[in-house]
Amino acid sequence: MRLLRIVPDDTRFDFMRFRRISFPISAMLSIVAILLYFLHGLNFGIDFVGGTLIEVETKAGAANLAEMRSTIGSLHLGDFQLQQFGAANDVLIRISEQPGGDAAQQEAVQKVRGALGNDVEYRRVEVVGPSVSTELLAYGTIGLVLAIAAILVYLWFRFEWQFALGAMIANVHDLVLTVGFMSLTRVDFDLTSIAALLTILGYSLNDTVVIYDRIREMLRRYKRLSMPDLLNASINATLSRSIVTHLTVSLSLLALLLFGGQAIRSFTATMMFGVVLVGTYTSVFIASPILIYLGVGRTRLGEAEEPEKPPEAPAASTKPLAPAQRARAPR
């Protein structure tokens, strides 16, 4: 049986040449993402801004959104949105946070339940009060920062500091772009989104680490290779794995996206963008070339790994230099 080779053996693709394009593009996209975040904002879900979310299913056929809108409007609960959610008789009602603390949110739910009566089935009711929502947002942010810090420390411990820094820059770049994507597509930004961001972080680090691992190995083995050549060789060597893995992950995600139901759709869509699109691009075009700028040198790593042996570069040049030094000595 002839097996599928998605990537031909021994590719010699010059990835490093693209860094003059990929860096400005990434910088630009990051700026756009940050601008989007500040100008367009995120569609914060009730987890972070408080409020009420009710999913109802009308018992008699398709929902009449206009009628429902006027029923709920007459309750004077401030801002609210109605939205078809999947099936025609499935409606998502979002009510903004009520003034007057935690108890006021509960009153609002009771009012809606009273107004909609028995014509609907309540599939889901979520109420998040102001005290909880502030906390959840704080915890979410702390969690992200903590995760990045923990991973950074781990990488620092396992590799050189340049690798840790490179991985962090690359992955913060991933997160920034993903947040930009979320702002652009207006997906709900809630606790699940934090989970998605953390998973994207984990996955894309996973990918970066695989390439870094190879770079480290090559640094030890090929001491004469120039940095760009070495990085190119490392990326090419792991290219097939990168692509096969991302294909399988995309297949899993695709199944979740198509059949996993409405409830986790925004989660999977975000993951798809972050892991498959951004993550792969980043490990190849950002995380690896950035090592050149961060000054990963063979000498440094050689010293760190084999302290007792003389460093490579001076070793090659000691002989021709030696007479000159001797000649200089009497002076």
Partner: protein, 530 residues
């Protein structure tokens, strides 16, 4: 890399088998599993988002606890100074402390030493922490008593513990199935009730403090006059059920704490719903004394600072039982009886978060999750077969065992499976596959580098495993942080992702290697079919 001692191989297979076997109870109906020995009963619990139910997060009103503590200190100050016969003025609660002014300078030392007895040393984790429950300062005859933060925190902790007990009683009285009630952080309580679709009544029951007092009605003046001029210092104005005003003495004759039973019933004369109650012996004696002394005068039954009714005492009530009538509906009478039996909460509770999922959505989610898992698995299995052939088959076997092991570990932990949890499992399949991909790609490389088949396989494994470890630890760190900060569904995701990483590491390091090693031994291949 490809050599396993017989014992090691057996150990690996046995571990995998045992872990997988733990998943078995999940495939049998609950009633069957119950007849098994208890160690075999552990199974995965479906989260509320999958089986439907209500999740309520309640918060104890910390301010009320603090206020009550301050009032308590003020009362004790009064008692202590009176006992010591120290004249004082201006005893009052100011912000976070109680202040009192000692009239004569010569008494200050006595007052201070007596008041210091109120302040107890707080016990820390190791013996005494050096902190005291009340900090006392004095300047120019003005003594300030401030409860320390640690003491207030301890009070809040106690209030939460008491509340949990009372909530348990209330929830059990409602006849709800398998509720979980647990502390969350310092001042919160999480109540989860599977299968509950409309938590309105539960919320109503949990939202009531149910502090019941029997007090006298102050007849020295009418409530209207008192409101217009001034309210007598030992009385207060309280609202009735229908908005009428009552002037009620602050002194409590008997409190709800002395009740031993309360039952809903019907008034024999007019058939209206009532709640009949019975006092314990202390309460009965207090109630008898009070009613004997006050025949012909009205007293008030006060629930959560609202007057339920204010009947006139016609004759002394000596039997220690009585009934409350207050134009209730049958359900209200029922709920009141439940509340009185369960006891009063030490402080009011507020619902700060509610998440209720109907059974329809839960079932839909399970179906969607299963569907996605099957489709995802099928796609991945097919892809691996096409890409790696026989080795793809090995990978598929390893990944299958991996998934079974995830279910086994989840069962062992009695873990909760949520919809994001299912997503976590699906993603883990991706991770497990990646381990195999890393190994196989490495083997391909080694073959290209000109190694012999067995050499290439050996080198492929040993080089790839280091990378697998590195890359999985980073993802595991992310999962751990997610578990630590996450709540509910997010935590469910972190759990399956974390467990999935561990099991996939296990399968990559042992099972896949074992399968390949066995294949090498039996077939002695010259080339690697990869």
């Amino acid at each position: 890399m490809l050599f396993f001692t017989r014992w090691k191989a057996a150990g690996i297979l046995l571990t995998a088998l045992i872990v997988c076997l733990f998943a078995v109870p999940n495939f049998f109906p609950e009633s069957t599993v119950r007849t098994w020995p208890s160690w075999a009963q552990r199974h995965i619990v479906l989260g509320l988002d999958l089986q439907g139910g209500s999740h309520l997060l309640l918060e104890v009103d910390a301010n009320a606890v603090r206020k009550e503590r301050l009032q308590g200190i003020a009362d004790e100050v009064l008692r202590v100074l009176r006992q010591a016969r120290v004249p004082f003025t201006g005893r009052a609660v100011h912000g976070n402390s109680v202040e009192v002014r000692i009239t004569r300078d010569s008494d200050i030392e006595t007052a201070l030493s007596k008041l210091r007895e109120l302040s107890q040393p707080l016990s820390g984790i190791l013996g005494t922490s050096g902190q005291r429950s009340i900090n006392i300062t004095e300047s120019g005859g003005l003594i300030t008593l401030t409860p320390s933060d640690a003491a207030v925190t301890e009070r809040i902790r106690q209030a939460v513990d008491q509340s949990i007990q009372i909530i348990e009683r209330r929830v059990n009285e409602l006849g709800l199935v398998e509720p979980t009630i647990q502390r969350e952080g310092l001042d919160r309580i999480l109540v989860q009730v599977p299968g509950l679709q409309d938590p309105s009544r539960l919320k109503e029951i949990l939202g009531k403090t149910a502090k019941l007092d029997f007090r006298m009605v102050d007849q020295s003046t009418s409530p209207e006059q008192a409101l217009a001029s001034h309210v007598p210092p030992d009385s207060e104005i309280l609202d009735g059920e229908k908005g009428q005003k009552y002037l009620i003495e602050k002194r409590v004759l008997v409190s709800g704490a002395d009740l031993i039973d309360a039952q809903p019933g019907f008034d024999q004369r007019n058939g209206e719903p009532i709640v009949s109650f019975r006092f314990n012996s202390i309460g009965a004696r207090k109630f008898a004394e009070a009613t004997q002394q006050n025949v012909g005068k009205p007293f008030a039954i006060v629930l959560d600072n609202k007057v339920i009714s204010a009947p006139v005492i016609r004759e002394p009530i000596l039997g220690g039982s009585g009934e409350i009538s207050g134009s209730f509906t049958v359900e209200q009478a029922n709920d009141l009886a439940i509340l009185l039996r369960a006891g009063a909460l030490p402080a009011p509770l507020t619902i700060v978060e509610e998440r209720t999922v109907g059974p329809g959505l839960g079932q839909d989610s399970i179906n969607a999750g299963e569907h996605a898992a099957y489709v995802g698995a099928a796609l991945v299995v097919f892809f691996m077969l096409v890409t790696y052939g026989l080795f793809g088959l090995f990978a598929n076997i390893a990944v299958g065992i991996n998934v079974a092991m995830i279910f086994g570990v989840l069962s062992m932990l009695n873990a909760t499976l949520t919809l994001p949890g299912i997503a976590g499992i699906v993603l883990t399949v991706g991770i497990a596959v990646d381990s195999n991909v890393l190994i196989y790609e490495r083997i391909r490389e080694e073959v290209r580098a000109g190694r012999s088949a067995i050499n290439a396989i050996d080198a492929g494994f040993s080089r790839a495993l280091a990378t697998i470890l590195d890359s999985n630890i980073t993802t595991f760190i992310a999962a751990a942080v997610l578990f630590y900060i996450g709540t509910g569904p997010v935590r469910g995701f972190a759990v399956t992702l974390g467990i999935g990483i561990l099991t996939s590491l296990f399968t990559a390091f042992t099972l896949t290697r074992l399968i390949v090693a066995y294949w090498v031994r039996v077939w002695r291949p010259r080339t690697v079919p990869i």
